[in-house]
Structure formats: structure tokens, C-alpha cells
Amino acid sequence: MPIADTVEHASIPDVEPALIPALADLSESQRICVLLVVAFGWTRVETGELLGIDESTVRTHLRRGLTHLRTALEVSTDVH
């Protein structure tokens, strides 16, 4: 089942609808890093320890993930 299908019917109040498919578009590592750091307040070091990767790699995943999300949300906002 495509990832997007698993969340298609999820109703999340106050969350921009485009966020969920945009999250689903991220790589697994990017998604985990973005959620842990931004949504849950983990530090990059803590996230790196959890994933077994260097803090600089977490930073890279984070940068790429957030860039994709911002682009997706900007497009979505423009459309709406």
C-alpha cells in the first residue's frame, strides 16, 4: 500500500493537508529526523545517537527534509 494511502483519511485538525503527503515523500531518515527534531524537540545529537549516525548527517537529513516540506507547503498555500 502506498504510504500516502495510509494517511489519506486521517483527519488532523489545524494541520495543513499538504503536510502529510509531503512527509510521506521524504526519505525515511529525513522523515524521522524532521519529526524528532522539529516536532518533538530532540537535539540533533540525541537523534544521531538514536539512529546511529553522525550529528552532521542528522543536520543534512534535516536540511533536505525541511527544504522539501517548505517547498511543498508553499506550493500548497499558493494553490489554496
Partner: protein, 354 residues
């Protein structure tokens, strides 16, 4: 509705927590401190397989994995999932910070089902003067994300003198300047940068090592910087000092009743990653008994090679490997116990030593 991305993700995060009924916020300081930095409490002979016990870190890992699966359909935070699907390895917090004065001697217990042979030990340490001479204080292990693991493994180290000492090296031109390549026993590529030398190693294609030279730079403090926007390359580990300090080695082979041959090796090294990465095509971190371990794999022409490697103490690594399935590797790893030198030599009477 807020369109600020941070706000959106925070709202989404709270929704996720409600869905899972779990607090996923950042752990309190020290809550997920690396297991290998614990306070020493017991001797090395206490090394035993620890029965998995509920720990805050493990509960948190499980919660994170479960909730992220629920929330966005992630196939699994495999690092976390693997620790619950894998049996415990002989890692134990109680001995995590103790370095034995010599080699770390280990044997399977019970030894039933294994014929032990080809024992070997090395009781010398690398010359510290030569270490200072040849190694600048940092280097990197890099790879390309492959699911929960990494492929395209490459190490890069800084030398203050030429690492071209043995072997058949060939000159090659690269966009970053002339370099020298040898392919035996693994791919090594050396390149001079001003008064420093870079040495790249990989067990993959030579081109991977050459490509790394195009994206790496070194500053006046010998700090390496890599353009990580290229080819999904990530830094897996950053090291200080020599990663190849392999003194105090003790190894043997174990032959199973099915004639499978496994190798057990302990060595002095700050991380198991570099020995593993130098011979593996893929590595994957796992979390066992609160400590980090790695699965290393390689597809050989005559079968799959698997290894399980970990740091038993901050400077003692253990590796169990063979052209056998990972289950067989793990089974032997689970049986390993620390013994004294006398017991080890009694079990391996024909062992050689340097």
C-alpha cells in the same frame, strides 16, 4: 490555520502523541546517554549475555518506532525494531567501560558444537611514536543510506606523511589532482593536499574512492569537510586518532558440526566500524543490550559473508564473522564469554602468538 512549518510539525507531533498515547518529546538529559560510557562496576570476567530488561531508552525507542509507523506509515524505525527482533549479543553495560590490560580473551560457553582452531594472538601495541608521525587527528567513515544501513562505504584519513609504503600503486588523474591507487587487498587511494595526505579506503569500486576526493577538503587544522549534498553521501562516523590501532589481538576460528567456519576476533580499536567497513559492502547499526553493534555484510562469489561487530569496552572490539548466515554468526556471538589468558590457551593449545 498556521502555515508556519515548525508550528505545523509541532501540531502534527502532538496529534501523533495522542494517537499513540505516548510522550515522544525529547528525553531528559542523560536518558539516552551512550551505553558505552557507563561507570565501571565489574571486571571483564563478568561479561555475560544480559537478559533484556525494560529500560527507558528501549521503551522510548519502541514508542518512537511505533508512533512514527502509525503517523506517517513509516515502514519502521529499523534501528529500533531490530533490537527487539534480534537476540541479545554479549554486550553488557557492566563491563562497557573496562579495558583489560592486554588482549580481550573470549571463548564460546558452552563450547559444545564448535571445534576451536587456528588460535592467534598479538600482544604488542602499535608504536605510539609512529601513530603521531602518520596520523593527524581526524577522519571520516562515509556511506550512502540504504534502508536502515549504509552501502558504498568509504573511509578517509589524514596523514602527515605519505601512506604509499607498500603494494603496487598506480598514478591516476582526478579532478582534484593526481592520486595513487592500489586495489589489493582493498581499494586504497592516496592524494597529497599541500603538506598533508588523504587516504581513502573502500571495499567497493575504485571509482567510489576517487569520487570522494572530488568532494572532500581539508583545512589548516586537518579538519575534513565533505560536500554531503552529493550522491546522498552521509557521515556515519567521525573519528579522532588512529582508527586502526589493532594491537592486542586474539582470534580463533570455530568449526560447526555442519562444517561452517566462523572467525572470532578481539582487538584494540576505538570503534569496530573501520575494520568492518574496510571489508564489508554494507553495514547496519543495531541496538543490543543498550549498546551499539553493527551488522556487516558482503556478497562473495562463493556465498554471503556476515559479521557482527561491537565495542565490548571503549577500546576493545569484538567481531564474529564467516561465510555463513547471520543467525549462525549471532548464535556464536551469544555464547561468547570473557576468560583469562590461561583458559583461552588451554582451549586453543596450538595457538600462535606474535
Amino acid at each position: 490555520m498556521s502555515t508556519d512549518l515548525d508550528d505545523q510539525l509541532a501540531i502534527y507531533g502532538r496529534w501523533l502523541e495522542r494517537q499513540c498515547g505516548t510522550d515522544l518529546r525529547a528525553p531528559e538529559p542523560g536518558r539516552i546517554a551512550p551505553a558505552l560510557t557507563g561507570v565501571p562496576t565489574h571486571g571483564v570476567n563478568d561479561m555475560e549475555v544480559a537478559t533484556p530488561t525494560p529500560q527507558p531508552r528501549r521503551r522510548l525507542l519502541l514508542a518512537v518506532a511505533a508512533c512514527l509507523v502509525v503517523g506517517v506509515g513509516i515502514a519502521g524505525l529499523i534501528v529500533a525494531n531490530r533490537q527487539f527482533s534480534s537476540p541479545p549479543a554479549p554486550l553488557n553495560d557492566a563491563v562497557a567501560s573496562i579495558d583489560p590490560p592486554g588482549a580481550l580473551w573470549v571463548l564460546p560457553d558452552p563450547v559444545d558444537g564448535y571445534q576451536l582452531l587456528n588460535g592467534y594472538s598479538l600482544s604488542s601495541r602499535p608504536d605510539p611514536e609512529s601513530d603521531v608521525e602518520s596520523f593527524a587527528p581526524n577522519g571520516l567513515l562515509l556511506g550512502v543510506v540504504d534502508g536502515a544501513g549504509y552501502i558504498g562505504l568509504r573511509t578517509i584519513s589524514v596523514y602527515v606523511s605519505s601512506p604509499i609504503v607498500n603494494g603496487d600503486w598506480s598514478p591516476v588523474d582526478t579532478p582534484s589532482g593526481p592520486a595513487f591507487v592500489t586495489n589489493e587487498p582493498v581499494v586504497l587511494v592516496a592524494q597529497q593536499r599541500n603538506d598533508r595526505w588523504l587516504l581513502v579506503t573502500t571495499s567497493s569500486e575504485t571509482q567510489l574512492a576517487l569520487d570522494l576526493l572530488d568532494v572532500v577538503s581539508i583545512d589548516e587544522q586537518n579538519e575534513l569537510d565533505v560536500d554531503l549534498d552529493v550522491d546522498d553521501l552521509v557521515v556515519i562516523h567521525r573519528y579522532v586518532g588512529s582508527p586502526a590501532d589493532l594491537g592486542y589481538t586474539a582470534s580463533f576460528q570455530a568449526l560447526t558440526v555442519d562444517q561452517s567456519l566462523l572467525t572470532v576476533e578481539t582487538a584494540t580499536a576505538p570503534t569496530p566500524l573501520f575494520p568492518a567497513a574496510s571489508v564489508a559492502e554494507r553495514i547496519e547499526p543495531i541496538q543490543i543490550n543498550g549498546a551499539r553493534a553493527w551488522i556487516a555484510t558482503r556478497a562473495d562469489p562463493d556465498g554471503e559473508w556476515n559479521a557482527l561487530v561491537w565495542s565490548q569496552t571503549p577500546n576493545r572490539i569484538v567481531a564474529v564473522s564467516g561465510q555463513v548466515g547471520l543467525d549462525e554468526v549471532t548464535q556464536l556471538a551469544l555464547r561468547l564469554r570473557a576468560v583469562d589468558e590461561t583458559a583461552w590457551k588451554l582451549a586453543l593449545p596450538d595457538a600462535t602468538a606474535d
